[in-house]
Symmetry: T
Subunit: 141 residues, 12 copies
C-alpha cells in the first residue's frame, strides 16, 4: 500500500524551528521513524515551501496510484484554497496533521481551509500525529 | 496509570444515532475494546447528557488522582465555557476526540470552545480517535 | 398515538412569570386543557430546568415509542446545540412552540438553534401554540 | 368578522412550484378549504407579485374595516421594510405564515423583517399554517 | 422652475399613520401648504407604494424637464438600490426628507441606501423638512 | 426555440444613462441587433422598473413554454429574493447579464442574490454579454 | 429666545478648509448672516477644537437658560459619546448640522453618535443648514 | 432579611483552582466570613456545576421569600440565557460578582449575558466582591 | 494613604443629570460623604469634561505619590484609548466605577476600553460604588 | 493579434477533475478547439499550479507584446492579491473565466479578488466561457 | 525650513512610561538630539494630552508657515477622526511615527485613523523613527 | 555585517509598474544606490514572484549567517501566513518596507499579516524606506 507524507512551508526546518513548540526531531528522523514503524507500507515523503510544488506532487502521486496522504500543510492550512481544491479534485484520502495545537495559538490558526475536504485532523499531539495518520490510512479498506 | 474516557450529551446513543455518520459500534463495545487494547491502564468511563454531571465527574476523578482524560464533549464542544473552565481549573491533561469530522458539517461545529485548553484534538477518524487519545495519554511521562 | 409535550427552563413558573408576556395559565392547567382537547392521544408531559434531564427524557420517550414532541425549549432555544443534536440524533418529529413572539424581543431571541431540525415552529400565539402543535402532530400519518 | 388572507410573490404558483417543498395544493383549493372551514368568517383573499400592490390592498382592507390578516409575504419576508411599515402603520393584527420551515433553508430565510410587527408566526406546518392563523385571528376578542 | 415632491410607500396615510411619530397633517394638506409657500415654483406631487411606479415617475419627470426632487423614500430608503440607481442614472438633484429622526428608531433605519446619491438629507424636523427641501432646491442656480 | 431577454429597473434608459459606464446603444437598438444575430430564435423582450411586473412576465413566459431567459436584473440583483424565488420556482434556465463589471463598483454590487439560481453570469463585457447569453441558451440541448 | 450655534473641531477654518467641499464662507461671515437673518433671536456662537470645552459651553449655556442649539460636531460626530451624553444629560434640544453630505464620503462619516439624542439632522445643504436649524429651533413652542 | 449567595460551575474548587487568579480562600471559609460579617442577615449558600440545579434553587429561594441574591454565575455568565431568564422571570434582585477581572482575560469573558437583568456587577475585587454585594443588598429598602 | 477620586465628562452635573438614572446626590455631597467615611485617607477629587485634563491630573497625582484612583470615566469609558494608556503607562491602581448598570443601556456602553487595565470594576450600585472603590483601594497592602 | 489563455492551479486536470462540475474535455482539447475557432489570433497557452509561475508568465507575455488574457485563476481567484497586482501593474486587459458557477458553491467562491482589476467575468457557462473571452478580447479595438 | 515634531497623549512621560516598550530616553533628550542632528532645520516641538490643544497647535503652525510635521498621535491614532480632519483640512504633510510596533500589540492598535491622510508611517523603530521622519520631511522639495 | 534586501511579487517591475504610485527607479538602480550608501555592509538582494522561493531564500540566508532583512513582501503582506511563519521560525530581524502608503489604498492593504513578527514597518516614504530599513538594521547591536 502506498501512502504519502507531505509537509508544507517551513516544515523543512523541523527540529530547529521554535523547538519549544515543534520539538527537536528533524524531518529526516521523523521519516526514518515512520519507515521503521510502517515497514509494510510503501511510504513517500515530500516537503516544499511552494504551494505549487505541493500540488504538483499530489498530482504526481495520484498518477502513481498513491492516493492516501498524511498532510501537514503548515501555514497553507489557513490561506490555500488551491491546496484544498487539489485534495478534492484528485479525490485523495487525506489525514491532516498539525504538530502543535492550532486552537491554542493566534486566532487565524484555528481555521483550517483544508480540513473540510480531508478525512480527519489531528492537532497538538506532536509528531505522534504523523504516526496516527499513517496508521489510520493503512487501516482503511 | 489512571485514564478517564468521557462522553458528553447524546453519545450514550452511539451505535444507533445517525450510523452513517457515527458508525454502529455502541459505547459498551467501544469501552470493551479500549479495556482490551489498554490492559495496563486503569480506565474509567463516564457518559452524561448533563454538563453539570460531567464537571462533577471531572472533579471526582481529579480527587481520585485521575487527571488524564480522553474527552468527547459532544455538542458541549460548541457551547460550554463551563466545561472548558473545568479542564483548565482542574489542570487536567485532555485529548479531545470527535468521531466525525467537525470541519465538514454545520459551520458552528468548526469552532471548539474546549480545544484551547486541551493538549490536542482528533476529529474524523471514527472511534479510532479514542484509541489514539488513550495511547497518547498513556505515553506521556 | 403517543405525543410528548416538553417544556424547558423556567417554564415551570408559567402563569406567574411575567404574566403580561406569558399569560396567567399554569402548566397544570395547560396540561389539563390539552388532555381534554386531545382525548384520543396518549399525552406525556415533562418540564425541567436542566438541559441534561430534557435530553434524558427525549431518549426515554424514544425508547417507549414516543417520537412526536411539542417542544418549548425556553432559553435553550438560543444556547443548546446539545438539545438540537438530541432531536436530530433520535430522529424525533418536533414542533417548536414559543408562547411570546421571539421576534419582538431581545435580538438573541430571534435565533433558534433547534428550529433547523424541527418540522416547524409556532411563536407568539400564546398557549394556543401548544394546541396547534399537538393537533398537527396528531394529523401526521 | 372580516379576515384577510394575503400571499406575496411567487405564491400564485402554489401547487406547481417546487412541490416537494410547498405541496401540490393550489391557492384556489386552499382558499376553498378555508372558506369551508371558516364559514362564519368573512374571508378575503389576495395574491400579488408586487410589494406595492400588497400594501395598496392592506390599505384598502383597512378602509373596509378588515384589520386581521393571515399573511405569507413570500420572499418579501426577507427584503421588505415597506411591508413591515404597512403592517405597523395600519395597526393590523397579522399572523405570519410560511409553508416550509424557513429555518431549514438558506440562511437569509431565517431572518424575518416582518415578524417583529406581527402577532406571531407559523412556519413549516404546510398549508395547515393558514388554518391555524385564521382560527387564531377569529378567536381574538 | 419645476420641482417634484415624491413620497414612497405608506406615506399616503400621512396624518393617520402613527401620529405621535409622523404628525396629523395629511399629504393633501402638506401639498396645499407647499403650493402656498412656493407660489413661484411649478410643483408636482407623487406618492406610490410601488418602487417601480416611483422610478417610472422619476423618468417621466426627467422627460418633462423636472430634475429637482424633494424625496421621502419611506422604507425604500433602507432597501432599494433600484431607486438609488434611478436618482443617479437620471442625474437628478434630490434632497432626501424624513419626517421622523431615522437615527432614533430601529437600527436598520439609520442606514440610507439613497443618501449617497442625493445632494443632502433632512431628518426629524417633521413636515418642515419638505419646506426646507423645496426652498433649497429653488435656491440652487 | 423561445428565449426571453429581460431587463430590470432603470435599464429602459440604456443609451442615455451614464453612457461612460453603460454605453450609448438603446434597448431598441440592442433588441434589433439580437433579432438580426439570432434569426432562428423566437425572441421575446421585456423591461420593467417593477419587481412584480418582472415576476409576472416570467410566469407568463413559462406558461407560453418560454423557459430560457437572458436576464439583467439591474439593481434587483442586489435586493430581490423574490426574483430569485421566481427563477428557482419556475425552473427557468437563466443566464445573468451585467453590462458593467459589478466587481469594480460599490461593494454592494459585488453580491448577486440571483446568481446562485442561474446557470451562469456575464459581467463587464458591455451589451456583448446579451449576445453571449442568447447564444449560450440557444446552444443548450 | 436664546439659541446657541456651536461648531466642533476644525470648523474654525471654515472658508479655507477644503473649499470645494465646505465652501468659502468663514465662520465670522456665517455668524453675521445668521444674526441678520434672525434679528429676533438672542444668538450665541461657540467654536472649539476641544471636546471638553464644547461640553463646558453646553453646560454654561444651560445655566444661562439657553437650551436650543444648532450643533455641527465636526468629527466628534463619529467619535464622541461624551458629547452625546452632554446633549442628553442637559436635556438640550439640538438640531445637528453638517455642511457636506456625510453619506457621500468615507464610510465612518455615515454614522452619527450624536444624532440619536438630537431632534433632527441636516446634511449636505451647505451653510444653509445652519439657517434651517435656527429657523426650526425658533419655531418650536 | 434573607439573602442568597450562589456560585455557578467550578466555583466549588475555590481556593485550589488557579490560585494566582482566584486566591486561596475556599468557599467554606468565604461563607463563614460572610456569616460573621453579616450576622443580622439570614444568609443561604448554594453552589452547583449544573445550570438546571441553580435555576431550581433560585425558584426554591423565591418560594421561601428570598429574592435578593449575590450571584457568581461562573462560566454560565457567558453562555446561559436560561439563568438570565430565571433572574428576570422570578423578579430577583441580583448583584453579579466575579472574583477576577472579566475584562482582563479571554475576549468571551468580557460579555455577560446575565448582567442586563441584574442590579449591578462587581468584578476583579476578589472575594471582597461578595461582601460588597451582600452589604449592598442588605442596604436596599 | 493617598487616594484619588476622578470623574470624567458630564459627571459635574451629578444630582441634576437624568436623576432617575444617576440619583439626586451632587458631586459635592458625594465628596463630603467620602471624606467622612474615610477620615484616615488623604482623598483628592477631580472632575473634568476634558480627556486631556484628566490625563494631566493623573500625571500630577502620580508625581505627588498618589497612585490609587477610584475612576468613573463617564463616556470616555467607551471611546478613550488615551485614558487607558495613561492608567497603564503611569502604573496606577484603578477601580472603575459606574453609577448606573452599563450592561442595561445602549449596546455601546457594555464595552469598557479602560477596564482591561484596571484592577476591577463596579457598575450599577449607584454612588455606593465609590465607597466600595475607596474602601478596596485603602485595604490593599 | 496576440491573446493569452492562462489557467491557474488544478486546471491541468481538466477533464478528469470532478467531471460533473467541470466537464470531460481536457486542456489539450480545449486549446485545440480555441486554435480552430480563432485561426486569426496568435494564441498562447499557459497553466501552472504556482502563483509565482503565473505572474512570471504574465510578465513574459507583456514583454512579448501580449497584453490581452483570458484568465481562469482557479482557486487563486479567492486568495491571491499578488495575481491581482500583476494584472493591474502590468496594465493587462483580462477577461476572467470560471467554468462552474462560482455563486452556486461554497461561500468563499463567490468572492473574486481579481475581478476588480479585470475587464469582465464569465462564470458557469462551462468551457464556452473561454470562447467568449477570446472573442471579446479579439473584438476590442 | 520649518518642521514640527508633535506628540500626543501620554508621550510627555517618555523615558519613564513602560521603558521596556518605549525606551528610557525622555522627550527633552529626544528633542535635543533632533536639534543636533538637524541643525539646518527650524524645528518646533509640542506635546499635549489634549486632542483639542494638538489641533490648535497644528492650526497655529500652519499660520506660521510650518506645514511639515512628524507626528506621534499616541492613542489618538486609534480614536481621533478630529485629528485626521485637521491634518487633511490644513493640508499638512505628515509622517506618522510610532515608537513601538503597533502591529505587535492589542488588536485595536493595528488600526490607524490618521494614516490614510499622512504621507507615510514608521512604526517599531524606536525613537529612530523621529529622525527618519524629520529627515524625510527635510528632503522633500 | 550581512543584511538582505528582499522583494516579493511584482516588485521586479519597479520603475515601470504604476509609476505615479511607485516611482520610476528600477530595482537595479535601487540596489546600486543601497550598495553605495552602505559600503560597509555585506548586502544581498533577492526578488521573486513566488512565495516558496522567497521562503527558500530566507532559509538559505539564515544558513549563511544573514538574519537581518529589509523586506517588502508586496501583495504577500496581505495573504501569506507562510512568509510570516518563515520570519518567526527562522528568528529573523526584519524591517518591513512598503513604497506606497498601504493605509491610503484598498482596505485589504491596511492589514499586514507579516508585521506582527517584524521589528517594525515603514510605509509611504517611497524607496527611501529601504534606506531607512538598512540603516536601522545596521545600527542594531
Amino acid at each position: 500500500m502506498k501512502i504519502g507524507v507531505m509537509h508544507g512551508p517551513n516544515l523543512g526546518r523541523l527540529g530547529t524551528r521554535i523547538p519549544d513548540l515543534y520539538g527537536t526531531i528533524t524531518l529526516d528522523v521523523l521519516h526514518r521513524e515512520l519507515r521503521e514503524a510502517f515497514g509494510d507500507v510503501d511510504l513517500s515523503f515530500f516537503q516544499s515551501n511552494s504551494e505549487g510544488a505541493l500540488i504538483d506532487q499530489l498530482e504526481a502521486w495520484k498518477d502513481e496510484g498513491l492516493d492516501r496522504v498524511a498532510l501537514n500543510p503548515g501555514a497553507l492550512t489557513h490561506q490555500s484554497y488551491a491546496l484544498r481544491d487539489a485534495i478534492e479534485g484528485l479525490d485523495l484520502t487525506v489525514v491532516e496533521v498539525h504538530i502543535s495545537n492550532i486552537f491554542q495559538r493566534e486566532s487565524f490558526r484555528a481555521q483550517s481551509l483544508t480540513a473540510p475536504v480531508t478525512r480527519g485532523l489531528i492537532t497538538g499531539l506532536g509528531i505522534y500525529g504523523y504516526h496516527v495518520a499513517v496508521a489510520y490510512l493503512r487501516s482503511m479498506v
